[in-house]
C-alpha cells in the first residue's frame, strides 16, 4: 500500500516538474472546442445546441492524449520492471499512475471546461455543474483510457490503437456526460445523468486497475 503511495507521489512530482507537459492537453482541449464556431457558425442558438456535445467530445479526446505515455515511458526505461520486482502490486501502480495523471491533467481540463462552456454561449449559472460533470467524466475517461494505455504500452504504433480500443469503452460516459451538460444548458433535471456519469467513473475505478495491471504484466514478460 505504501508502495502505491510512493508511486503516486513520484508521478505527481514528475507531472509538475515536467515543464508544463501535463497542461498540453488543456491547450488542445481549448483549441479543439474553439474550432466549433468556425464549423457550425457563430449563431447563438446553433452554438448552444452544439456546445455541450462538442465540449464533451473534446474532453474525451483530450483525456486520450496523456494515455500514450502513461505507461510507455516507465516501461521503456525499466521503472515498471523495478516496481514489479520490488513487490508492489501492479494494480496499485496502475491506479496510482492513473489518478496522479488525472490530478495533473484531468482537473485542469475540468477547470478549463466552464470557460469553453461560456464561450459556446452556455448559461453562466451552470458553470459549477459543468466543472462537476467534467471532473467526474474525465475521471471515467482516464480510467477506461488506462486500459488501452496498458494494452498499447509495449507497441510501436500505440497511440492510434489506444483510441481504437478505448473509444468504444467511452460510449456510456459519453452519453451520460453529454446528457448532463444538455440538462445544464436547458435547465432540465441534471441529477440523474450526473449520477450515471459518476457510476461510469466508479465502474472504471472498480475494473480498470485490474485490466490495466493484467495488460502491463503481459508487456513486462
Amino acid at each position: 500500500m505504501s508502495g502505491s503511495f510512493a508511486v503516486f507521489a513520484r508521478e505527481l512530482k514528475l507531472a509538475w516538474s515536467g515543464g508544463g507537459g501535463a497542461a498540453l492537453p488543456v491547450g488542445f482541449f481549448a483549441a479543439a472546442a474553439s474550432m466549433t464556431p468556425f464549423a457550425v457558425g457563430y449563431d447563438t442558438v446553433a452554438l448552444q445546441t452544439a456546445g455541450p456535445g462538442v465540449i464533451w467530445i473534446a474532453l474525451a479526446l483530450s483525456s486520450l492524449l496523456p494515455m500514450e505515455r502513461l505507461f510507455q515511458a516507465d516501461l521503456e526505461d525499466g521503472t515498471l520492471d523495478a516496481y514489479a520486482s520490488s513487490g508492489i502490486a501492479m494494480e496499485g501502480v496502475t491506479l496510482a499512475k492513473t489518478l496522479a495523471h488525472w490530478i495533473a491533467t484531468g482537473i485542469p481540463l475540468a477547470l478549463m471546461s466552464p470557460i469553453l462552456w461560456i464561450m459556446l454561449q452556455g448559461p453562466v449559472e451552470a458553470s459549477g455543474l459543468v466543472v462537476a460533470a467534467s471532473l467526474v467524466g474525465s475521471l471515467a475517461f482516464f480510467f477506461f483510457g488506462s486500459i488501452g494505455a496498458a494494452l498499447a504500452a509495449g507497441m510501436r504504433r500505440g497511440g492510434l490503437l489506444i483510441a481504437l480500443v478505448t473509444l468504444p469503452l467511452y460510449v456510456p460516459t459519453m452519453i451520460f456526460g453529454a446528457a448532463t451538460l444538455d440538462a445544464a444548458a436547458s435547465g432540465a433535471d441534471w441529477v440523474g445523468p450526473l449520477m450515471l456519469t459518476g457510476s461510469a467513473a466508479l465502474f472504471g475505478l472498480a475494473t480498470s486497475p485490474f485490466g490495466a495491471a493484467m495488460a502491463l504484466r503481459t508487456a513486462l514478460d
Partner: protein
Amino acid sequence: MAVMSFFANPHRFMAASKWPAWGFTALGVLLVAVGVYFGLFVVPEDFQQGDAARIMFVHVPAMWLSLFVYAFMAGASLVSFVWRHALADVAAKSAAPFGAAVTALGLVTGSIWGYPTWGTWWEWGDARLVSVLVLFFIYLGYIAIWSAMDTPQKAARAAAILCLIGAVNLPIIHFSVEWFSTLHQVQMKAADEFKYPMYIVALGYLALFGGLTLLNMRAEIMNTRAEMLIQRRQAAD
C-alpha cells in the same frame, strides 16, 4: 474438459479438423443458399413492407451471429487466459474476421433495409443499431491489437484481455445506448412471421463460421510451423 485437453495438442487438432473444416464450409454454403432461396422466392411477401422485408433473411441471422461469434471469442479468450490453452488464442484470433464480417454485413443490410421502411439510411435513435456499431469497433480494435504486437505470445495475452474487457463492457454499453435512445424517438420494426428461412440461414452462417474458423486456425498453425522450420534452418546454417 476432456475435449479441451485432447485438442491442446496441435497435431491431434490438425488431424481431426481437416474434414470438418471443409465439411462445415460446404454445409454452410448449402444451407445459406437454401435459406436465401426460400426467403426470396418461396415465402409470400410481407403485407406491410412488401419485398423489402426479404432482406431480413440475410440481416437477422447476421446480427445473431455477430453476438454469437463475440461470445465464442470471449469464451476462447477466457480459456486461453486461465489455462493457457495452446489453441484457444488461435481459435479466438481466427474467429474475429468472420465476426467483424457478419457485423459489417448486418450493419450494411440493416442500413439498406432501413431506407425503404424507416425512410432513413441510419437512425441514431435505434439502440440496437448503435450498439452493433460499437460492437463493430470492438472487433476492429481486437483485430488491430493482434497485428500491432511484437510477439505472438504477447499479442495473444493482450487480445484476450481486450476481448474479456469488451465482453464485460458490452452489456453496459448496450444499456447506456438504450437509455440514450429513450431520449429520442424509438422506432419499432414490423413483426416478422417467416422464421424458417431465417433459421436455415442462421444455421448456414453457423456452419460457415465453424468451417471458416477451422480453416483459419489450420492456416495459422501451418504458418507457425513454417516459421519454426525457417528459424531452425537459419539456426543450422
